[in-house]
Structures are given as structure tokens and as C-alpha cells.
């Protein structure tokens, strides 16, 4: 091999792309590291903002708050804006058992988790499928459905809770008498057909909370929609030629292709519903730490809860990942 060809082929070698130069003789053995090393260095340069940020800005606070859980915290004497930490071991672990409000909120968050995640996933999947179909005004419909992602603000949620005027107007607009009458009729039907009352109550409760559900499933709809867009149309065409019905298409093409995103969405929903901004427990712990100056107990409780969330997320991810179909594997 002459000099020029050598030069050319070594310039072509990209790690993991050996077949790319299979036509030429491989020169990886001679000058193997230069390009791989260059690429590795370039990679580190591209991710360096995050590394610097994590080491110098984000992890120290996380570490500090973890240490709070295992220390007595004293505010410094007057004139100084400081804290003193004295190691206290597992002294504050007992608040995990003694704080009844904490236990109650944590229990209710975990108890409603399953139903909440299931309904959000199914709901967002159905909506994403509908928004993916072709119809007039699709763009407007999509814009409206993503609006809650943009407009849900903690400040507004707080205001809603203490706004008598808003609730007055709300009641005028949706006359609650109608609702009661409707509920009465539904319950009458339930009795007439001897349906299980508990199940019906769960379902009517879900329907009543549909606005919360829409608000919490904006991101999930977005993720599902992006997945649906990426399924190659040729799959549907060939199955149509072979005489498959839309129903068969849905179960044999759409569902398997979208299953990796079901995993992503389930994990996101679990995290969002257990530790989102409108979670009762999160707000309680925040108030406890910041407003009531119970730093150690607050830190201990939030870390214990975070560990539980972490474990649940891991277990859910593990179970679902067994059921996921990957096209390339």
C-alpha cells in the first residue's frame, strides 16, 4: 500500500465504524488511538458544561442536604448568617415513625399511585392516537392539548386555592345542581343493574377529575405523539396490502412499536406524581424545612421518601422493560 492510500484510510477510521473502511486495508493496528482519542476528547469537551455544573454547583448542595439528615443543625449566633452541623448519627430517623402527617401523606401518595399512573398512561395514549389521525383543525387541537404544559404554574395553583371570587364564578358557570342530579341518575342506574358500587364510584371519580388528568398528561401525550410520528408508514402500507384491518394494525404494529415509550412515560409519570410540584407531601416537607426550621427532620424525611420513590421507579422500570419490544434487537 502506498503512502497516500495509507493516509487516506487512516483518516477514514471512525471507531465503531470499521466496516466503513473494509474496502481498504485496516490501519487501526498502526495508528489506532489517534482518532478514537480525539473523538473521546471531543466528547468530554461537549459534555464538560454538565460535568462542571454537577461537580461545582449541583452536587455540593445535594451532599449538604444529605448530611443535614444525620446532623444536629444549629443556627449561628446573631450577626452571622451561618449554620453549624454537629454529627448526630441516626437520631432523626425516629421522626420517620413519629410524624403522623408525613406518614399519612406518604401513604396516600403511594396508595393512589397505581390507579393514577394507569389512567394517565391509557388516557395520553388514546389522545395521542387521536391527535395523530388526519382531520381538519388538527394543528389547533394539538396546540390546545399542549397548552396545560405551558400554563400550569405553581403560583396560579396556590392562588386558585384561596380565591373565593374564582370559585364563585366557577360555580355559576357549572351549576352544581345539574351535577348532583346527574350523579343521582347514574347511581340509580347502578342500583337498577346491580353493578358494583365501588367500581362505579372509582370511575365517576376519575371522570370528575378529568381536568386534573389532562393537566398531568401533557408531556406524556407529547412523547407518545412523537413516537407515533416515527413509525414508518411503509409498515402500515404492507400490512394493508395483506388485508389487515385497522384493529389488527393497532395491536400488531402500533402497540409493539410504541412500547419503549410506554416505559419512558410510566417512569416519568411515577416520578411526576410522587415528587411533582403539586404533590401534598413535597409541599409539606418544603414548609417543614424552610418555614418551621426543622432542617434535620425535614431532610431525613425527604431523603427517605426520595429513596422510596427511587426504588419504586426502579422496580416499575424493571417490570415494564421485560415487556418492551425493541425493533433492533
Amino acid at each position: 500500500m502506498d503512502e497516500a492510500a495509507k493516509k487516506f484510510s487512516s483518516a477514514l477510521v471512525v471507531p465503531g465504524e470499521e466496516k466503513f473502511v473494509s474496502g481498504l486495508k485496516r490501519t487501526r493496528e498502526k495508528k489506532p488511538r489517534t482518532i478514537a482519542q480525539k473523538r473521546a476528547i471531543a466528547g468530554w469537551i461537549f459534555i464538560s458544561p454538565f460535568l462542571i455544573g454537577f461537580i461545582f454547583l449541583l452536587f455540593p448542595p445535594i451532599y449538604t442536604s444529605l448530611m443535614f439528615a444525620f446532623s444536629d443543625v444549629f443556627t449561628a449566633s446573631e450577626g452571622y448568617a451561618g449554620f453549624t452541623l454537629v454529627p448526630a448519627g441516626f437520631k432523626y430517623a425516629e421522626t420517620l415513625i413519629n410524624d403522623l402527617t408525613y406518614l399519612q401523606f406518604a401513604g396516600s401518595s403511594l396508595a393512589t399511585l397505581g390507579l393514577q399512573v394507569l389512567t394517565i398512561i391509557i388516557f395520553s395514549f388514546v389522545i395521542a392516537n387521536i391527535l395523530n389521525q388526519k382531520f381538519k383543525g388538527r394543528t389547533v387541537a394539538r396546540a390546545i392539548f399542549f397548552l396545560p404544559v405551558i400554563t400550569s404554574s405553581a403560583a396560579i395553583v396556590l392562588l386558585n386555592a384561596f380565591d373565593p371570587l374564582y370559585s364563585t364564578a366557577n360555580n355559576t358557570a357549572t351549576s352544581s345542581a345539574d351535577e348532583l342530579q346527574l350523579m343521582g341518575q347514574i347511581l340509580g342506574l347502578v342500583e337498577a343493574f346491580k353493578l358494583p358500587t365501588d367500581a362505579t364510584k372509582t370511575i365517576t371519580g376519575l371522570v370528575g377529575n378529568v381536568s386534573t388528568m389532562i393537566k398531568n398528561s401533557g408531556v406524556q401525550i407529547l412523547i407518545f405523539l412523537s413516537g407515533l410520528q416515527s413509525i414508518s408508514p411503509s409498515l402500515f402500507e404492507s400490512s394493508k396490502i395483506e388485508g389487515a384491518t385497522p384493529w389488527e394494525n393497532f395491536w400488531k404494529i402500533t402497540f409493539p412499536m410504541i412500547s419503549p415509550l410506554i416505559l419512558v412515560n410510566t417512569v416519568y409519570t411515577v416520578i411526576d406524581s410522587l415528587s411533582g410540584l403539586d404533590n401534598q407531601l413535597m409541599n409539606y416537607l418544603y414548609t417543614k424545612k424552610i418555614s418551621q426550621y426543622k432542617y434535620s427532620a425535614g431532610a431525613m424525611e425527604s431523603w427517605a421518601y426520595f429513596l422510596v420513590v427511587f426504588a419504586i421507579t426502579g422496580i416499575v422500570a424493571l417490570i415494564i422493560s421485560k415487556l418492551v419490544y425493541y425493533e433492533n434487537e
Binding site: V14, A36, R39, A40, A42, G43, I45, F46, F50, G53, I55, F56, L57, L58, P60, P61, I62, Y63, T64, S71, S77, G82, T84, I127, Q133, R142, A143, I144, F146, L147, P148, S152, A154, A155, I156, D163, Y166, T168, A169, N170, S211, S226, G227, Q229, S230, E242, G243, A244, P260, V264, I271, L285, Y286, K289, A299, S302, F306, V309, F310, T313
Partner: protein, 398 residues
């Protein structure tokens, strides 16, 4: 492709038990091409369905279109209803509010609520300040997460998986868990004593580094840079420098891709770049372009819709956030999310309306919510096109 085997597998359930065995089924299509087999099957299905009203293709299509229309209309109403209600209340007088015959369109109607609110809080300057702050933070977050996401997607290096685990970790851990630790670390910021728990203990025993200087008093107060500027130069910083000094902690976090939900942004960019064909990049490398040139000239133009989406998220979540903002810009009455629920402002409203429990106070607060959402919705309408486009180009696929 063994299309007949696939076909048989697909319709195994539908073959009636009394029908001929599958071998004759196969023989039936012996002389035909695959497409012809498909047509024949479709014809047979149509023949079966003929005569049943609900199986008529057009009826089905229209029935589904109607159901879909009603469903979308209803859900859109549920989403838009609170916004419409707030906007309608913001134009109502007190009489309108308590008149039960008024639902959405007020009888008397007034602009006074808006006038009073805008006048009391100085809305134009508050709007400029909060939008500017969110825009700078959103832009910094979009740029830094773009670089990081590209690095994770297109370069192989040792430890990549581990570092990506850290990104996931920042996505999962809630802000409320570490916000207090962050306050302390930023209040007494010293890059050399980040993991020293005494670093923020100004009254305790001094710790020395190399015996050279006293670490405890050498920390920087990242939250009071304006005051530091004032004591150093004798005068308060100008509006622009002051803007950057006051929001230093937010901008620092955004610049280094560790701001609010930035793990999600890194993930979005990573998934997007993984989906771009490798040939594009390789062609650029063969033509002699370096990593930086390839990134800016080849990869960046295609990533613009995704960039706009991430910018929109970064802007909105900074603009709407109160937990971080309260902690780090607590007393600022220049930030809309804080203004609309600040007790100071409510006091001003009360003195304007002549009492705490007058309904006007709530009317003004309601106007605050409308004006709080106004810039976000305007931005959304502007970004909407590339927002939907970036979804269609699918940055988020698994």
C-alpha cells in the same frame, strides 16, 4: 419475505373451524402475486360485510369523525375553560360578579381592574424584567443542554454511561430535597471547600487551607453580588449589570446544564441527535471539517426546531417557577410569579380598594393571573410551528 406464512399467522383466529384446512388455503393463492392475494382478501371481506349498516365504510368513517370531533371539542373546552373564565372575570365589575345571570360576558364591563393592577405594580417594568430573566435562562439552558446532548449522542468514550446516569439522577431528584443546601452553598460559595461541611459555618472554628489563608472568610455570596459591587465600587450597579448580578445563581445553573428539569432537556437532545443519519457527519469529516465545524455547520441547522422547543420549556418553567425564585430572589418585586402572590402587593391592593375583604382585591389578583400568562401564551403561539415540527421529527423516541 414469506408473505403467505405471515398471512396465515395473522388470520389464524378468523379461519372458521369448519373451513377447509390451511393447505388448500395456500393452494388457493398459488398462481397469484402478493398484491393480488391482498386484493382478493379485501374483496372477500367486503362481500362478507355488505348489507350490514354499521360495516358500511362511509358510515363508519363519519361516525368516527363525529365521535372524535365531540371528544376533542369537549376536552378542549375543559382545558380552555379556566382560562376563558379568568379572562371574563377580569373584565367584570363587582356587580357583574355577584349577578347570577352573568356567566361569561359581563353586563357592565370595565377596564379598571387592568388599569389599577398595571398602575400598582408597574407592569411594563415587571414584564420586561421577568421575561428577560426567563429568556436569558432559557437560552443558556438550551445552548448548554444542546452541547451536552450532542456529546452524549455522538461520541464514544469511557465513562459515558456513568455520566449519563448522573444526568438521569438530576432528572429524578426533586428540587425541594436540596434547595436549602443550595441556598447555603451559594450564600457562602467557595469552590475549594464545596464538600467541607464547615464551609458555611462563619462562627465556628476556622479551617485553614495550606496554612495560607482563612477559608471561612473567603467565600463569595452569590446571592448578594449587587451589594458586593456597591461596597467595592461605591455605587450601585447599572440596570443591566445589576440584572445579571441579581440573577447570577440562576444563570450559572443554566449555563452549566444543571437548572430546573435540564436532565430532561439533555435527554431530548440526545435522543434527537441519535436519530440523525450518521452519513451526514461522516461526509463532513471526510471533507476535512473538524468536530466543531461539523457540529455548527452540519448538525446544528437541523436541530433548530428542537432547540426552540427546549428554549420554550426553559423559558416557561423559569418564568412559572416559585420555589427556586422565592429562595434565591425572595424579596424581588420585579418577578411576576412572585408579584401575583406577594402579600406586599395585596396590601397595596387593599389600600387602593379601601379594605382587606373587598372583592376588588381578588379582582386585581385575577388580573394578575391573566397578565402573568399573557407573555407565555404569546410566546407559545410564536413557537407553536417549530414546536409541533420538532415533535414530528421525533426527538423523543426511545
Amino acid at each position: 419475505m414469506d408473505i403467505k406464512a405471515f398471512f396465515n399467522k395473522l388470520f389464524k383466529k378468523e379461519t372458521p373451524a369448519t373451513a377447509a384446512p390451511s393447505s388448500s388455503d395456500e393452494n388457493r393463492f398459488a398462481g397469484y402475486s402478493n398484491e393480488e392475494v391482498g386484493k382478493i382478501i379485501l374483496e372477500e371481506k367486503k362481500k362478507k360485510a355488505r348489507g350490514k349498516f354499521l360495516n358500511n365504510k362511509n358510515v363508519r368513517k363519519w361516525a368516527w369523525a363525529l365521535i372524535r370531533f365531540l371528544l376533542i371539542l369537549g376536552l378542549s373546552y375543559i382545558i380552555l375553560y379556566p382560562l376563558i373564565l379568568r379572562v371574563s372575570v377580569s373584565f367584570k365589575t363587582v356587580n357583574d360578579v355577584f349577578d347570577s345571570s352573568v356567566v361569561f360576558i359581563p353586563k357592565e364591563g370595565t377596564f379598571n381592574n387592568y388599569k389599577n393592577f398595571i398602575h400598582t405594580i408597574g407592569y411594563p417594568s415587571v414584564l420586561l424584567y421577568s421575561c428577560g430573566r426567563a429568556a436569558v435562562a432559557g437560552l443558556l439552558q438550551a445552548i448548554s443542554t444542546l452541547l451536552v446532548g450532542y456529546g452524549f449522542a455522538r461520541f464514544k468514550f469511557k465513562g459515558r454511561g456513568l455520566v449519563f446516569m448522573l444526568v438521569m439522577f438530576t432528572m429524578i431528584i426533586p428540587t425541594q430535597v436540596y434547595i436549602l443546601g443550595m441556598y447555603l452553598k451559594f450564600r457562602f460559595y467557595n469552590p475549594l471547600t464545596l464538600y467541607n461541611l464547615d464551609a458555611f459555618n462563619t462562627s465556628g472554628v476556622t479551617s485553614m487551607l495550606f496554612g495560607l489563608f482563612d477559608m471561612n472568610y473567603s467565600s463569595v455570596n452569590l446571592l448578594g453580588l449587587s451589594a458586593a459591587w456597591k461596597s467595592a465600587f461605591g455605587s450601585a450597579p447599572g440596570p443591566i449589570i445589576g440584572f445579571f448580578l441579581d440573577n447570577a445563581s440562576l444563570f450559572l445553573l443554566s449555563m452549566f446544564a444543571v437548572g430546573f428539569k435540564n436532565g430532561l432537556f439533555v435527554y431530548m437532545f440526545r435522543q434527537y441527535f441519535r436519530g440523525v443519519p450518521k452519513e451526514l457527519e461522516e461526509a463532513a469529516y471526510i471533507d476535512g471539517a473538524g468536530f466543531a465545524k461539523t457540529f455548527f455547520k452540519v448538525m446544528l441547522p437541523g436541530a433548530v426546531p428542537m432547540f426552540v422547543t427546549v428554549f420554550l420549556f426553559g423559558f416557561v418553567w423559569t418564568y412559572n417557577d416559585i420555589i427556586f425564585t422565592q429562595q434565591f430572589n425572595g424579596s424581588s418585586e420585579q418577578i411576576m410569579a412572585i408579584v401575583i402572590q406577594s402579600s406586599n402587593i395585596v396590601n397595596k391592593f387593599a389600600s387602593l380598594a379601601g379594605g382587606w375583604d373587598t372583592p376588588e382585591v381578588q379582582l386585581y389578583q385575577n388580573v394578575g393571573v391573566c397578565l402573568h400568562l399573557l407573555p407565555v401564551i404569546v410566546l407559545y403561539i410564536f413557537c407553536q410551528r417549530s414546536f409541533v415540527q420538532s415533535i414530528e421529527r421525533s426527538g423523543l423516541v426511545g
